[in-house]
């Protein structure tokens, strides 16, 4: 099984890749990697569960792609009137959208839609790959009340839906019919009252089992001061980078603030007592995926001598032209495909 943190690092690499380029060829390559991974995950789900148990929204990702690309292209063309290839012009007296509608604005909008779809698709895959239980487990220890609340809520959702159906059946037997919005009241109020009664008995049983009131982060007084200090560093650093020429100093303060906040929350979390029931291991599969991620990051962010990074910066305006393509960047981007290859091998071995 691939480690949860490996998945997070992988998705961070996808987000970085989608953020640094507007070259349609690279974006399509990234989307192809995502599509192949999605296919393998769906196959794995069918092999292990007998059906695709994807819990995501009941709309195909490709419909969402079509919607995002179309909307983005239309909005951009309507709002942004830049570009030299004019398709047609709307009278400037038209409020908001008056002016030239250009091919360049359409294409730039469509590219933005493609990037947005890539971000959406990457998270769609993450939701498919990681169970709710694994996602809750990564909530940091400093936030254990939040983790407990989330666990309770997720446990109670099926109960709530079941209770809703029971109430509806009981009210139907009494002759209740849904005619208007007010007719929802006899369903909502018992549902709410029942839920609140359950909350009271749950809190009593939690207290009886020794889950005391949480005052942990008030007792850690140094934590509060350091959190405040980290926030101030972050705020001042960001303001400096935005409003002054002290870019380096501002960036340093910004990064120090982010680092301080993360370290303080980690240290506070360490002082929280906890029990670990399932310990996720790091395996050679994680090492392979991380090496793929390292290849992608090095291609996109580091100045490697054999790479033409200019091809990443594709600019549609003022006149559209064909995008460039560096095969080395293309090969290194295929590092994102590593989870798909590993899941494919695992699927083959299970089928055999």
């Amino acid at each position: 099984m691939i480690n949860t943190w490996t998945w997070f690092i992988w998705i961070a690499a996808v987000l970085i890749a989608l953020s640094v380029t507007r070259n349609p060829l690279y974006i399509i390559l990234i989307l192809l990697c995502l599509f192949l991974l999605d296919t393998q995950l769906a196959l794995k789900s069918r092999i292990t569960n007998g059906a695709d148990d994807n819990r995501s929204i009941p709309v195909s990702p490709f419909r969402i792609a079509l919607m995002l690309i179309t909307l983005s292209a239309v909005f951009n063309a309507a709002i942004s009137h830049y570009g030299e290839t004019v398709l047609f012009s709307l009278p400037t007296s038209f409020p908001l959208i008056g002016g030239s509608i250009t091919v360049e604005a359409f294409v730039y909008g469509a590219l933005n839609g493609l990037v947005l779809f890539g971000i959406f698709y990457a998270f769609f895959i993450l939701n498919r790959a990681l169970s709710v239980r694994r996602l809750i487990r990564v909530i940091p220890r400093a936030f254990y009340p939040v983790a407990v609340v989330t666990s309770i809520a997720i446990t109670f959702i099926p109960n709530t839906i079941r209770q809703y159906h029971q109430i509806r059946e009981a009210q139907s037997v009494r002759g209740h019919r849904m005619r208007g919005i007010r007719d929802w009241l006899p369903l909502l109020i018992p549902l709410l009252t029942g839920g609140l009664e359950r909350a009271l008995s749950l809190s009593e049983s939690m207290s009886a089992r020794g889950l005391a009131a949480s005052t942990a982060n008030q007792e850690v007084w140094w934590g509060r001061i350091m959190v405040l200090f980290g926030l101030l560093l972050l705020l001042i650093g960001w303001i400096l980078t935005l409003f002054t020429d002290w870019l380096l100093f501002g960036s340093l303060l910004l990064i120090s603030g982010i680092g301080l906040l993360l370290i303080v929350l980690w240290l506070i979390g360490r002082s929280t007592p906890h029990s670990t029931y399932i310990l996720e291991k790091w395996t050679w599969q994680d090492a392979l995926i991380l090496s793929g991620v390292a290849a992608v990051i090095s291609a996109l962010l580091f100045p490697l001598p054999f790479i033409d990074k200019e091809t990443l910066h594709y600019e549609v305006y003022p006149t559209m032209h064909l995008p460039g393509f560096d095969p080395f960047i293309g090969i290194l981007l295929l590092g994102l495909l590593m989870p798909a290859i590993l899941i494919y091998i695992s699927n083959i071995s299970v089928q055999e």
């Binding site: 909307l71 909005f75 830049y82 933005n112 939701n127 009340p145 309770i152 009271l200």
Partner: protein, 300 residues
């Protein structure tokens, strides 16, 4: 740490996270002024949409850390159950989409925030978004801004209380709701129906529209930027948000008073505290003896 210094540090943390959150959302407007001032006219580090998501996530994390500090088992259990009810409503919303941006989840967030306080409202709003995203597979970069906006809805609801107390015969102990209270809540829900959309659009604007179309180009005044954002908002979301605003107002009108009275009834049960420090040993023994006498019949 003394209670006064805790309160002061709390206020400072709330203020800092609020400023950071608002600045992150308004950064495209700010960034235009900066780009004009830079020699190259190019936006740099700190101006990217990804930076917005990172800063917003961090301020959300710190705010949740601060707010969760004073929850007890009753609040944890109550939050868990109310979030389950709210997430179920959102589950239904995803399965059977209502008109436009209509969403039933703001009803409970507003009413519970109004009655149980800003901290509770914030956690209910933010965690409803988190849990429903986990359940429906909606985890993504949009989640921090959704959590922030929904949290702010609940956190801001108690600001209605002083107004309602001054203008009506509102009485918490009598479990009564006045017409003024209902009207205030309806207007509040209508207002947040729009504001939620505006906040979510501020988040999506830098991702959706090209830099030339919004900020980034030299010589654009703030008024021009606001007009560009307005055109983006009116084109993309106005009618969507209108249905959310009307939907929330309608739900508050139809269910506001009955739900408030249920929540008020439970408020007394939830605020009950067993004060062990004032319970003397002889009082405790006397209480035990009374209970035993009442419950056990000893034959003579």
């Amino acid at each position: 740490m003394l209670p006064k210094s805790i309160r002061l540090s709390s206020i400072a943390i709330y203020s800092a996270t609020f400023i950071l959150g608002v600045l992150s959302l308004l950064y495209p407007f700010i960034s235009s002024a900066i780009v004009q001032n830079t020699p190259t006219g190019q936006a740099g580090f700190g101006h990217t949409p990804l930076m917005l998501t990172v800063l917003l996530s961090l301020s959300l994390v710190v705010l949740i850390y601060e707010v969760q500090g004073q929850v007890n088992t009753k609040v944890i259990a109550l939050l868990g159950v109310l979030i389950a009810i709210n997430a179920s409503l959102r589950f239904i919303e995803v399965g059977i989409p209502g008109p436009g941006g209509f969403s039933p989840i703001f009803l409970l967030i507003i009413l519970a925030g109004y009655l149980y306080g800003g901290r509770f409202g914030f956690l209910l709003g933010a965690l409803t978004m988190l849990v429903s995203a986990l359940v429906t597979g909606g985890v993504g970069p949009w989640l921090p801004s959704q959590m922030f906006a929904a949290g702010w809805v609940g956190m801001s609801a108690p600001i209605l209380r002083p107004f309602v107390q001054r203008t009506s015969s509102y009485s918490n102990s009598k479990n009564q709701s006045s017409r003024i209270e209902l009207l205030a809540l309806i207007l509040f829900g209508f207002f947040w129906g729009f504001l939620y959309g505006v906040i979510m659009n501020l988040w999506s604007w830098p991702y959706f529209v090209d830099p030339v179309g919004q900020y980034g180009s030299q010589g654009i005044s703030t008024i021009e930027l606001i007009s560009r954002y307005t055109s983006y908002y009116l084109l993309s979301s106005f009618f969507w948000d209108l249905s959310r605003a009307f939907g929330t107002a309608l739900l508050l009108f139809a269910f506001g008073i009955p739900i408030l009275s249920v929540l008020r009834r439970f408020l007394h049960k939830l605020t009950f505290q067993h004060d062990q420090t004032n319970l003397q040993e002889h009082q405790f023994q006397a209480a035990i003896e009374t209970v035993l006498k009442d419950s056990i019949h000893i034959p003579q």
